[in-house]
């Protein structure tokens, strides 16, 4: 719990007034037309949507995610957050094509690119999915805010969820996307300032940059381990460390430690805290054993997380960590190709082999492939749908390109600033074995080390981070509901005034829907929905590119890829491994397998059905000028005298 001083409250109240004032200020602009309410009249200079890209993709759960991967993987963890780099290519390819199409949303683009019944079905599907997704994301980030308020002030979860999401809704209801983008600019500036200040504080709290680097060179080796829940109560355990390349055993437990399933929280916490000194090297001279924790005096509780600690052997970069419960007769792998010592944490390219370990080259190559080449398509990344709105709100093709490029560059640099602070956090707390603890690292640095009077500034920054995300998703969800459902299917003759009223009503309904989602989101539902996101990303990754670059790819091929992917991903991720037909594959291998299997379905469907109507394709081509394989359409456009 934190206590706010007068200055803290002042920061917070001033900030909330500024945000709500934004809505009032742009109220008149927002109500002019549908285009103003959802795209700020398509007249924004590049830096406004750029700041919105940056602010929207800085949510309350983003520092939790970045802290988690950087604490676990060192600076290599930055690559887990590098998927945003699809914008490197998108800024100059799919952004340009999409901006030229003038479609309000990705759902609308489907009816420009494809024609007939297939296009209508795709538009309805994408719009429905996006209304649901925006409500879900709002619920997700809303409940994250609820949890933070619970941690800071002891409030019930729903209070933080409802109050702070509603503040965002006020200015979205009043001014639509004008309110979102203007507030995003201020929020982006405030959030960046807070991130820099807190991160500098974090680095300094750890003793400064040089101290962090020096300590990483001297700290002992660590490896996270969740003791298997089915380990026999009272069993005796041994650990051993061996060279990954030669299998030479470098050292093993001299005496066994004990497993127990009679959990004692006080003793567990005491043991976990005691591990800190072993990592920090202060007790190295007290034992001749290579393994510092666990030792014979320790009891390890089954199903719990621990940090194994051993001395960093010179000249050994990769080691295998194993345990035995039968006095060394058989050994079970805990981690293969684990990095020795801690200095690897400052190397962003500290690979653990071609296919093995926590950071294999194969994973890195797959990540670069997905992240960068995805920029040729539309919808290859879940963030595309929010960027699409920013792209259309820019005043020209050039402004759209620069807004996407610059906003994402700032996102990547922000991740790097966080990463430096999290290395500082690791120096201070190197013993944390539970992700739930170290994922809160950046927030802990802020609330623990900032001076009084600045805590309110930090909270205002967190609020900025939260509001920028929720306001975007409220407005975006309302756009799909209004433009792609109401205007397209219910009332195509609706006046501009009517559409703005429906836009506001949709905003309100999405807000209420997000509260319901937020209060029911539990661990299990979240896991299922993360799986749903994974489904979206893997099997339809290539079709999302093909729809942009290949004229012959038709609506039935694209639709079949969505449907096939739904079934195939279940098979590959869960069902086939469960029956032992295929092994449990790492995520990057699942990606490649789904790419191939899905293509075996949508390619035949594409070739067995007719191409899109040529006049429709010519019209789209002349307007959007897509990249790739559009030869027959181009020739037809020339023949018709349109090029």
């Amino acid at each position: 719990m934190v206590t706010f001083a007068f200055l803290d409250w002042l920061w917070l109240i001033l900030y909330i007034l500024l945000m709500v004032g934004c809505g009032a200020l742009f109220y008149r602009l927002g109500k002019r037309s549908q285009s103003d309410f959802f795209l700020a009249g398509r007249g924004l200079p590049w830096w406004l949507p750029a700041s919105s890209v940056y602010a929207t993709h800085t949510a309350t759960d983003t520092p939790i995610w970045v802290a988690g991967v950087v604490y676990k993987y060192g600076l290599s963890g930055l690559w887990y957050a590098f998927f945003a780099a699809w914008c490197a290519i998108s800024a100059f390819v799919s952004t340009r094509i999409f901006r030229r199409s003038l479609a309000y949303s990705q759902a609308e683009w489907q009816s420009l690119r494809f024609s007939g019944l297939g296009a209508e079905m795709l538009r309805g599907w994408v719009a429905g999915w996006q209304v649901f997704m925006n409500m879900f994301i709002l619920g997700w980030v809303g409940i994250a805010m609820g949890k933070l308020c619970n941690m800071l002030f002891g409030w019930d979860l729903w209070i933080g969820l409802v109050i702070f999401t509603s503040i965002g809704a006020i200015y979205v209801l009043m001014a639509g996307y004008w309110g979102v983008v203007m507030a995003d600019f201020q929020q982006g500036v405030i959030a960046l300032l807070v991130i820099i200040i807190v991160s500098i504080w974090g680095v300094m709290a750890a003793g400064g940059p040089q101290t962090i680097i020096d300590k990483l060179k001297t700290y002992n080796s660590t490896c996270e381990w969740r003791v298997p829940a089915d380990t026999q109560d009272g069993a005796q355990g041994l650990l051993r460390i061996s060279d990954s390349g030669t299998s030479e055993v470098l050292g093993a437990s001299a005496l066994p430690f004990t497993f127990s399933n009679a959990f004692d929280e006080a003793r567990y916490v005491e043991t976990a805290d005691g591990v800190k000194k072993y990592v920090q090297n202060t007790h190295e001279s007290e034992t001749n054993s290579l393994i510092l924790f666990p030792s014979d005096a320790d009891v390890l509780y089954t199903g719990r997380d621990y940090t194994i600690v051993w001395k960093a052997s010179e000249g050994k970069r990769l080691v295998n960590v194993e345990y035995s419960t039968d006095n060394g007769a058989t050994w079970i792998m805990i981690d293969e190709n684990h990095q020795n010592g801690q200095r690897w944490r400052i190397n962003p390219l500290s690979f653990t082999g071609s296919f093995k370990g926590q950071f294999p080259v194969a994973w890195f190559v797959t990540m670069l492939f997905i992240a960068l080449l995805g920029g040729f398509g539309m919808g290859t990344n879940i963030d595309w749908y929010t960027e699409a709105q920013r792209i259309q709100s820019a005043k020209s093709v050039r402004d759209a390109s620069y807004s996407i490029w610059a906003g994402t560059a700032l996102v990547l640099v922000r991740n790097s600033i966080w990463a430096a602070a999290i290395l500082g956090f690791f120096i201070l707390f190197p013993h944390l074995a539970s992700s739930a603890e170290y994922e809160m690292g950046w927030y802990v640095v802020g609330f623990k080390y900032l001076p009084i009077g600045m805590v309110g500034f930090l909270f205002a920054g967190i609020l900025a981070i939260h509001l920028s995300t929720v306001s975007t998703h409220i407005n975006l969800g309302a756009m799909y509901a209004t433009r792609d459902f109401y205007h397209h299917y219910v009332n195509p003759k609706a006046s501009e005034n009517r559409l703005v009223v429906v836009g506001r009503l949709s905003t309100f309904i999405i807000l209420i829907g997000s509260f319901i989602f937020g209060t029911i989101i539990g661990e299990e539902i979240t896991q299922w929905l993360i799986f749903a996101l994974w489904i979206m990303a893997a099997g339809i990754w290539l079709p999302n590119i093909l729809q942009v670059i290949w004229w012959r790819f038709n609506s039935w091929g694209y639709l079949s890829s969505w449907i096939a992917n739904l079934g195939l991903s279940w098979l590959v991720v869960w069902i086939l491994p469960r029956f032992g037909i295929i092994p449990e594959l790492p995520d990057y291998m699942q990606f490649w397998l789904l790419i191939v299997l899905n293509a075996l379905i949508y390619l035949p469907v594409t070739f067995l059905t007719k191409p899109e109507d040529m006049d429709h394709l010519v019209s789209y081509y002349v307007m959007s000028r897509p990249i790739g394989f559009w030869g027959p359409v181009r020739r037809e456009a020339i023949k018709q005298g349109l090029l």
Binding site: L75, A85, V93, I346, L412
Partner: protein, 98 residues
């Protein structure tokens, strides 16, 4: 005319040319370098400043190559945008027309 073209007609700028591919490659490289360079610079490592500096130079080079083409595309497209918006509204009302 040099290897990198910096003056475009509207028709030429609409085509995908080598300048677009240079921009794509430089853009991806600069993202990688800015990410690594920023993290290492924040830790005051000299190699970080070098990487960050290269990243910034590549970004400027990317801008220098692609900006004239983007400007021409934008200027030309804005002239046609009004007509395209009307066309878009027709497609939007597809159901009514039927």
């Amino acid at each position: 005319m040099g290897f990198i073209r910096r003056e475009w007609t509207a028709k030429e700028a609409d085509e995908w040319r080598k300048e677009d591919w240079f921009a794509i490659i430089l853009s991806a490289s600069s993202y990688v370098l800015l990410t690594i360079g920023s993290a290492l610079s924040f830790l005051l490592l000299p190699v970080g400043f070098v990487i960050l500096g290269i990243g910034i130079i590549i970004t400027i080079l990317m801008y220098w190559i692609i900006d004239p083409k983007l400007k021409t595309i934008s200027t030309e497209y804005e002239k046609k945008q009004k007509e395209y918006l009307l066309q878009l509204e027709e497609i939007q009302k597809w159901e009514v027309e039927k």
